[in-house]
Subunit: 263 residues, 2 copies
DNA sequence: ACCTTGTTGTTTTTCAAGCAACAACATTTA
DNA sequence: TAAATGTTGTTGCTTGAAAAACAACAAGGT
């Protein structure tokens, strides 16, 4: 009889998000530590009330996480973890696949309805979402793409997205340095590091803004990528005339500066 | 103002298993059908009580399924389905990864404790689990592997698992037919279809058992794969002397018969 | 007679779901 | 300008459903 050794809370949460209840998680974890336990032993090991152990074990068998012996009393055994987690994931993934299909159908029904959305300013959370939006902007470019970003951000997340931009679109990039081959397709301007990466905000205080960027497409769509420290990445996107104009001015002034100083 | 068109129940269930609540699912689905809706519009579209819409939208933003505009009033927009589902899956997969790691650590702590587990008969549910166990049996083979299975089962699920068996182990296979190249490593016996696939159980009644198999390793470990119609696949595994002996006799008799009749 | 297994039914707890009311603010109307 | 009206966003409370926890008992084995 082992102590119901207490279980890391994070583990319980993880298993819950895989579709298990607290009891199911506790019983499965308990079973991993022994071989062929009876229901009562499971109760002792996991700390789950004995009466609750039976329905829980039934569900776990149903979910292909434990196997049952044909003896009396029944004995239970856990499926090895990676096999078990795999089994859970398979269900979830098939659900995800189904959901994606149906949702996509609904999504396509939406009338494009360009309407007055161009007056809004959107915040986008999550790096993946930001990159997706950036990709969309670049893909829709017809005349010009302007990029003002730190090199690390460029390197990591932006350059790849610029690939599909056709040659007919003028692409200008301002950054703080450049490593590797400089594509002849782009107009590239290098600006001293101090200016881009740090901004003097108060007398003597430096406000470092790491991994940030400004993007402008066709003078009509702008995205501000705010690399907020360790918080969740976020960005602003807008087609509003006001914000676009602001970004337009910002980029122009920085570019001008680059031309007079840097070059 | 659109009707809160009713939503397929299966879709709600799928989204729940991806970690959304009913409200979260309804709001997200509703948002997919419009562009830049206000909280009140979301309430009208989704049928979710207006007061509940705010916390729900907060959570959806947190989960990277919707983006918010910086206007007043705030406007909300859904991220495209495959992007959104992707975002949900990423979280779940990272949970799965974490859980697998921790569980594996616990699993390895288990003393091998071979104990009297060889007297038990285990039932295994789910094709994946059965195959995993079979693979384990084959991997542990030291002298002999005997297989008695219908060709379709062999072909689909078994032959691949026999790959890692070393040449020093004698492998015998009895099946109802053989298509393709016959590996010289195996002793192969063909037995007429009627015998293997159908079994006369009552006078005149035939009991077809499709996709079933019997496996015996080193005369010590046996697995019975029961291809139960459309129900969940299941199997029996045992190291118990009784069951092993039974399987031993069964295979021997069938093999004998094959030798006298078929050949 | 005693203990263990397995089952059933009931209570408690927890969290989502649903509802009512209100402060803040903007828009309209007198 | 002031009152009337309406909308946004919040707070707190009630309802309801599912899991968690407990109590009690029939069946069977020693």
């Amino acid at each position: 009889m082992k102590a119901p050794r207490d279980v890391p809370n994070a583990l319980l949460e993880s298993l819950k998000s895989l579709g298990l209840t607290k009891y199911e998680a506790l019983v499965y974890i308990g079973l991993l530590r022994v071989t062929g336990a009876t229901a009562t032993e499971v109760h002792e090991i996991s700390g789950v009330p004995r009466a609750s152990v039976y329905p829980v074990l039934d569900r776990l068998v149903q979910k292909e996480l434990v196997s049952v012996s044909h003896t009396t009393p029944k004995r239970f055994d856990a499926v090895p973890p990676d096999q078990g987690v795999e089994n859970l994931m398979r269900r979830i993934e098939s659900d995800a696949e189904g959901a994606r299909t149906v949702l996509d159908a609904l999504y396509r029904e939406k009338r494009p309805e360009a309407r007055d959305s161009q007056e809004q300013i959107w915040t986008i959370y999550g790096e993946e979402n930001i990159r997706a939006r950036l990709a969309g902007m670049f893909r829709s470019a017809e005349r010009s793409v302007e990029v003002l970003a730190t090199w690390d951000l460029l390197q990591e997340s932006v350059l790849a997205l610029l690939e599909p931009v056709p040659d007919s679109v003028q692409v200008d990039i301002v950054t703080d340095c450049w490593k590797g081959e400089r594509s002849s397709r782009f107009g590239i301007h290098i600006l001293p590091l101090a200016t881009l990466r740090e901004t003097r905000c108060a007398p003597g205080k430096l406000l470092p803004y790491e991994s940030s960027g400004v993007f402008l497409v066709d003078d009509a769509r702008a995205l501000l990528w705010l690399g907020a420290g360790d918080e969740q990445r976020s960005a602003l996107y807008s087609e509003s005339a006001g914000l676009v104009l602001f970004v337009r001015r910002h980029i122009t002034s920085v570019t001008e500066w680059a031309r007079t100083t840097g070059q």
